[in-house]
Symmetry: C2
Amino acid sequence: MNRNEGASNGQVKATRLSLAILDEIRRRDGAGVTELATHFDCSKSTIHSHLRTLSDEGYLVNGGGHYSIGLKPLQLGGHARVKHQLYQVAKDEVDELAEETGESSKIIVEEDGRGVYLYQARAKQAVTTDSHVGTHVYLHSTAVGKCILAHLDESRRNEILDEHGLPQVTANTVTDRATLDSRLDRIRDRGVAFDDGERIEGLRCVAAPITAGDEVLGAISVSGPKKRIDDETFRTTLPELVRDTARIIEINVTYS
Amino acid sequence: MNRNEGASNGQVKATRLSLAILDEIRRRDGAGVTELATHFDCSKSTIHSHLRTLSDEGYLVNGGGHYSIGLKPLQLGGHARVKHQLYQVAKDEVDELAEETGESSKIIVEEDGRGVYLYQARAKQAVTTDSHVGTHVYLHSTAVGKCILAHLDESRRNEILDEHGLPQVTANTVTDRATLDSRLDRIRDRGVAFDDGERIEGLRCVAAPITAGDEVLGAISVSGPKKRIDDETFRTTLPELVRDTARIIEINVTYS
DNA sequence: TTAGCCGTTCGTCTAGAAGGAACGTTTATT
DNA sequence: AATAAACGTTCCTTCTAGACGAACGGCTAA
């Protein structure tokens, strides 16, 4: 009957469906029983019992038959974040970076071959983008992601790039493996990475990796609109600032 | 035949267990199969299949048999937060409040009769407390909570207080219903609430509710150590500042 | 008023969740 | 070094409870 993929052995099918429902509701920004039943090709009653359970536990909120994400995940996520070493040692520095530059500054870590924003500090005039805490992005299409890619060991890097490929996000996204490799080389040399509208049109970003020994913990970045970040700032001022901040964070890591 | 017990009707038991496991791992700050099997009084293999599923979906990370909370919940939580009206209109104001006062400033909303921190802005010298984004607190033991209680309709307020009671958190916590009621009256009169070490010893907090029409959306606060917030600041300066900021946020709500 | 769509509830059936025992490692003890 | 204890993990069997389809009640629109 159900032609599920073979990789789901020794797992709890009901939980899988519950979590898949959560994710679908996030993607749709809220949903109802019928549309979810259609999407997952199963009965309304099945979906309903899952929704009821998830609502009861605070993972969903039910607004007259329309279900949307509740605040319970925020408790778990907040916990995971606070316990994350990089968050503890980098948050204050990233706050300062945002304040000094007047732009948006972020901490990102790798998970399952993609990048996750751990934290975002926004100065008042900073642009609001679609990226908020918890957002997943492709590693090859952002400066922060390329920092991480550059410092992963080769086998892991190949694994990730094979799995996710190099999807084109904007006109400027690097979609060629050779080009990407040469960029990663330069990132390793310089200690900073650039993104000139590769993920979001008109958005420039400068990033630096945070390493401990031979392991990369994540990366930090400053990003803002092209019209406000001129070439001089983009190529000289910001790289120095971001690189220096990354060094301070690495020292924090060592003594924490 | 059907063993339906208590309040768990028409719900998915496997999902309930999965979510209970997540919460227990959060409380324990990571756990292993055996201790969880003991805690839930069920077989190791059952726990294991749940853990495997949750890890596979990114809700947990498995570090050599020790499981801890993953970053996937951060994605859901971040989404829920960004979609929350109060976060959108209050974040910038709360950032400013933290900067002006040099203390910690928060946004809180009510969920299931308890308070949830939606956002926290910390100035550099601000104290680090146990409360981070997503933390749940009792409404009667914080200034922000009392703001919300004061502006809920009476039936809902009674419902909440009956369900959770008035547990004593510190020596200063209000545990008497009559005392609480008179404080709530004063909060309604003044538009601000105070907390002088009622939740955390030595921590003072000033809060103001955010209302829209007759509905309370949540509350904002500034909190800091008693030694830094003198009586004058605590009773006059901060209340005015917090109240004014709340008014601005309420205007933002109206025009959003 | 009626038709159609929605979320919700109910009772049945069998898929799959739960349990127990055994395995392979790792860590502590003698 | 040998042994024991404890852990996470796997396998297989049993019967619980998750999935289903049909029916219900509430809502909106024609």
